[in-house]
Symmetry: C2
């Protein structure tokens, strides 16, 4: 019988981008990993936490750019673990929320490689916190729906999100990859029965120095600026307080002594 | 004009209970806080991170037990901040997910106290990670619904959750406070059109040494054991792999050499 040393793969959420929003566990695992396989969205300040022994490889694939195929990422993790390495597969946000975790787990299971999932702060929750928004409000909201505006299904044509099934007065919508067709989204959500006055807050690059935001109501959703991705669009009555505060800030800026109207974007 | 020194209130998510699943920021804020106001669910290992200068007070209120009223918690935060203190209001999970964050923000805004929201790993996402479950799977799932099984609305009678509006083949349900009427929940979700074979995983005290779990399909949901709260019930096709793995583990245990059937609970 031949002996094999098997390492382990840690599927780790890196959070939204602020190194302080990593979990302590992610921090510790990064420091001791032999190999770090990361996506494009992970900033240098997080990758710099890897120890001097670590090989750090970008396996990211962003919309429209050529990247490493999923099969190659799986093969790289498995091969390194079989050589006894501790591998950190670093995913932005939480690995289980629009992170293709299922496909990597399937591959690791099939190869009988030990692995562990380490949760992270998902982008939608980070965006809400950055805006001081509560996604639930027991006075108004009973549920939170995390949904992707852009549905890329493998080998299938782009599938349309069924907004009608999602829109509800007492739900907060957290839309990942909201795209830029806000007029179309407004029309669909209004047709589904949402009120034109429902508050909407767009947050780009939450919890990074590049954070930007815009705030409006559903009826004027098409007037939101297009902000850099990754962005999160929050829609629901629980955002009422945030929308009020942001509107007041804009007013205060508009009434600035210089007389110039300054946008907080 | 009188000078006032104003402190700051940090509304901080403590994650599910494992000190390693705190964010680095939560860790740092705890260490330097003057006052820590925490809920019952925060374990001693997390509270022990507070520095020697900190006053640590339990303001928790658990179901059926007398606790500190929300108004008193608000008043305590505001009073301490007005005396120039740095206050950490520590909430289990993420403050913006079923954490009554909105009410505390409203009070801080009304009192013009500076504050900041620090996100945490919410219990539902921690439960999924602990089970190596991906809440989304682009091959099967388009959205994740975070919902509370128990809806306590202030001053109103217990309101029923509208399961019909939630049940969908391509959604993953993450049910906080699922209660123990699993037969009733099964009937409602089946009536709403979900398949009897839809996988369901119950996780109690995820990411703590007391973690327990059970796994079944929707048709047999009433056979889930009642586990200690806090518990999370995950239901949806994205749990198929987890359910298979857990079933295989039970089978392996049942076929143990001792001949004894051992439950992984």
């Amino acid at each position: 019988m031949s002996m094999t040393i098997t390492g382990k793969v840690y599927l780790v959420g890196a959070g939204p981008g602020d190194p302080e929003l990593l979990t302590v566990r992610a921090h510790n695992l990064l420091r001791r990993a032999d190999l770090v396989l990361h996506d494009d969205l992970n900033p240098p300040a997080i990758l710099a936490l890897a120890g001097p022994q670590a090989a750090v490889e970008n396996v990211g694939k962003r919309c429209g750019k050529k990247g490493v195929a999923q099969e190659q990422i799986n093969a790289r993790m498995i091969e390194a673990a079989r050589r006894g390495q501790e591998v950190v597969r670093l995913k932005s946000g939480d690995p289980g929320i629009f992170g293709r975790l299922a496909e990597e787990i399937d591959a690791l299971e099939a190869a009988a490689i030990p692995y562990e999932v380490v949760p992270g702060i998902t982008a939608g929750i980070a965006a809400a916190a950055a805006m001081s928004a509560s996604l639930t409000d027991r006075r108004k909201t009973s549920r939170v729906i995390l949904v992707s505006g852009h549905r890329a299904t493998k080998g299938e044509p782009h599938e349309k999100t069924n907004w009608k099934a999602l829109a509800a007065e007492d739900a907060t919508l957290v839309i990942y990859m909201p795209g830029n067709n806000f007029a179309g989204l407004r029309d669909e959500l209004l047709a589904a029965g949402l009120d034109t006055g429902t508050p909407a807050v767009l947050v780009s690059r939450a919890a990074t120095p590049q954070q930007q935001h815009g705030s409006t109501t559903l009826g004027a959703l098409d007037q939101l600026p297009t902000l850099e991705s990754p962005a999160i669009l929050l829609i629901g009555r629980s955002l009422a307080g945030v929308h009020q505060r942001l509107s007041a800030e804009i007013l205060a800026l508009a009434l600035d002594e210089t007389g110039a109207r300054v946008s907080p974007l």
